[in-house]
């Protein structure tokens, strides 16, 4: 398996009036056999970064190593994509529409001078692992989305790559299929031990597959870490938002705490700026009518129920502070509904409030 080292990689695209910066000085190491996720909003340069690793794009500046071998540097491809031992699943899967599933999966092997029996054996082996043995004589258009995705995965894995790249591989699947597809990818990766890099804008992909995640925002790698750590200690409100739902409130720093309307959030340290953004995950908020006698939960003030929704067996409750701007909203999920316009007490979990300087 292979260790990927990116050193100060930048990518500029030429546009009519100047340059567009797609990647800005990205440095990153992915250990051999690791599962690494790249999270970012659309247009952040995720796909560009993955294409540079694959060799489909050349970095304008910086160097890319596979183990200690330089594969691309400063506008030059040194090792072409076909020699990098990469399996890639494209966002659109990019199956060859004129070939059957079998021929699709066999395609990389036909470029390797293997005997027909050897090719058949290896295709059937991988098809069995991915449970597509019964559709090998079908054309891609005759397959369901999930089957197409598994054919694409089989095609990427059949050549025993050192590195598996997944570019938003689940975005074309319906929600029900996604979980099993994610589990499958993780299982297969564990079985084969291949280094894996997955690009996604969906934190669920990252949490279910990756051990480490790098967050790209506007071409910059802003945070790298374990997904839980990034979730709990995001460096900016943008990162916090990318990796999971979060309540965003604009507050004012005072000696007693951060003030948002009539709400007062505790301060853990002092901040330079006066205006800050308070971030709280929905699971760290409770709305009640009565006082809670638990020192883990801190009362921050009173609010009014604004919207009640129902989602996945839970009630999604939106509350605004009793006083102050109507635009400030706090959301949480509860197992029982509240009444609209009802006054409630807002509690937050101790140590869960994230404060971001603007």
């Amino acid at each position: 398996m292979v260790k990927i080292i990116a050193k100060n990689i930048s990518k500029y695209f030429k546009k009519r009036n100047g340059y567009v910066i797609a990647l800005d000085d990205v440095s990153l190491t992915v250990e051999s056999g690791a599962r690494f996720g790249i999270l970012g909003p659309s247009g952040a340069g995720k796909t560009t970064f993955m294409r540079i690793i694959a060799g489909l794009e050349v970095p304008t500046k910086g160097e890319l190593y596979f183990d200690d071998k330089l594969v691309a540097s400063n506008n030059k491809i040194i090792v072409p994509p076909e020699d990098r031992k990469i399996g890639m699943v494209f966002q659109t899967w990019a199956l060859y529409p004129n070939l059957t599933a079998f021929d699709n999966i066999a395609f990389p092997l036909t470029n390797m001078k293997l005997s027909k029996e050897e090719i058949r054996k290896r295709v059937e082996e991988i098809a069995k692992i991915l449970d597509i043995g019964h559709v090998l004589d079908h054309y891609p258009r005759e397959l369901s989305g999930g089957q197409q995705q598994r054919v694409a995965l089989a095609r990427a894995l059949v050549k025993n790559p050192s590195l598996l790249l997944l570019d938003e591989p689940f975005s074309n699947l319906d929600a029900r299929m996604r979980d099993s597809a994610r589990a499958l990818v993780k299982d297969v990766q564990e079985k084969l031990g291949v280094t894996l890099i997955i690009v996604s804008h969906d934190p669920a992909d990252i949490f279910s597959i990756a051990d480490n995640v790098g967050v790209l925002v506007k071409g910059k790698l802003v945070q790298v870490g374990r997904p839980e750590d990034v979730y709990n200690n995001p460096v900016t409100i943008e990162v916090a938002n990318l990796i999971g739902e979060i309540n965003e409130l604009e507050g004012k720093v005072t000696k007693e705490g951060v003030i948002v309307g009539n709400l007062k959030f505790p301060l853990d340290k002092s901040y330079k700026s006066e205006r800050v953004i308070v971030g709280i995950r929905p699971e760290d908020v409770k709305f009640t009518k009565d006082l809670i006698n638990d020192e883990n939960w801190i009362l921050v003030g009173k609010g009014v129920v604004k919207v009640i929704g129902y989602q996945g067996g839970m009630f999604r409750i939106t509350v605004t502070p009793l006083e102050g701007s109507e635009d400030e909203e706090i959301v949480t999920y509860m197992d029982h509904p509240l009444k609209r316009k009802e006054e409630v007490l807002i509690y937050v979990k101790k140590g869960s409030v994230k404060i971001f300087e603007t």
Binding site: A54, E82, L99
Partner: protein
């Protein structure tokens, strides 16, 4: 406007345009069945009172050889120019997407040059072309005519195929590259099958263009036995007089093959054009 009126006007316009196209074809068909006297004495759009096949009979005997000559020259020419044109188009496509800015600009420049070349009138190249063919010893030879036609139709094929190839999703070509396939394999296994409707459209277009090409066979053929069909048909309007019913019959016979190709392969022609707009889904 009400939908009914709109649709009626729509169809009326289509009928008028079709009629304008069909009237000459109709005249060509019926006048071949008249006797020479009747062609001269009756209005051109009035059908013959007595059908006579004699004009067709005479003309077919005379045109048998030119028809065969045309087939021998045009079919290989069209196949070769479409195939080589497609290869050329793919070559320029890969250059355009190469990482080197120099190569992609060079490719744009060369391709523009080729495109421009397809607009050069044959007449302007007549003398150098003839001298070239003569010096190759290919005057009055099938190979000579084919060679001259290929000079003009390979760029046409490249130009048309470049439009069809650019519709093939780029990610498919990238996937094949990552799978270790070389450019020839990508072309033969993926590009060609995926742009097949476009390939057939281009083929039909070149067959018809080459079939109707008058100047190249006129100049490069010196003996009557080697004449191609457009030149043979033209010889019916002579300097001293014209036998009209035979001229009409000759015109019908000369257009049968392109017409038949269009009728049988026309749907591929349309499908190819549709593929251009539908993201390559015409397959």
């Amino acid at each position: 406007m009400r939908p009914v009126i709109r649709a009626t006007l729509h169809y009326l316009a289509l009928v008028v345009i079709s009629a304008i196209w069909l009237i000459p074809v109709y005249a060509m068909l019926i006048n071949g069945f008249k006797s020479n006297l009747a062609v001269l004495s009756t209005p051109v759009l009035v059908p013959p009172t007595s059908f006579s096949l004699s004009a067709y009979h005479i003309v077919f005997n005379a045109l048998e050889r030119p028809l065969l000559n045309s087939l021998i020259v045009v079919i290989p020419t069209a196949l070769i120019s479409t195939f080589l044109g497609a290869m050329g188009a793919y070559f320029f496509y890969t250059l355009t997407y190469s990482f080197s800015k120099f190569l992609s600009s060079l490719s744009d420049f060369l391709f523009s040059l080729i495109t421009l070349a397809t607009f050069i009138p044959y007449q302007a190249t007549l003398i150098p072309l003839t001298r070239l063919v003569v010096s190759m010893g290919l005057l009055d030879n099938y190979l000579g005519i084919m060679f001259a036609m290929l000079i003009f139709y390979i760029p046409t094929g490249a130009l048309l195929m470049s439009m069809f190839i650019s519709v093939v999703p780029r990610s498919i070509i990238e996937a094949a590259k990552l799978d270790g396939a070389g450019d020839l394999k990508i072309f033969m296994k993926l590009i060609l099958p995926l742009s097949l409707p476009g390939f057939i459209s281009t083929l039909i277009f070149i067959i018809i263009e080459a079939w109707n090409n008058f100047f190249i066979p006129l100049v490069l053929v010196t003996t009557p036995g080697m004449r191609l069909i457009p030149v043979a048909v033209e010889s019916y309007t002579g300097g001293y007089g014209t036998i009209y019913n035979e001229t009409f019959a000759a015109a019908v016979i000369a257009s049968i093959i392109p017409l038949a190709i269009f009728i049988f392969l026309g749907r591929y022609f349309i499908r190819g054009l549709i593929a251009l707009g539908g993201g390559g889904k015409g397959v």
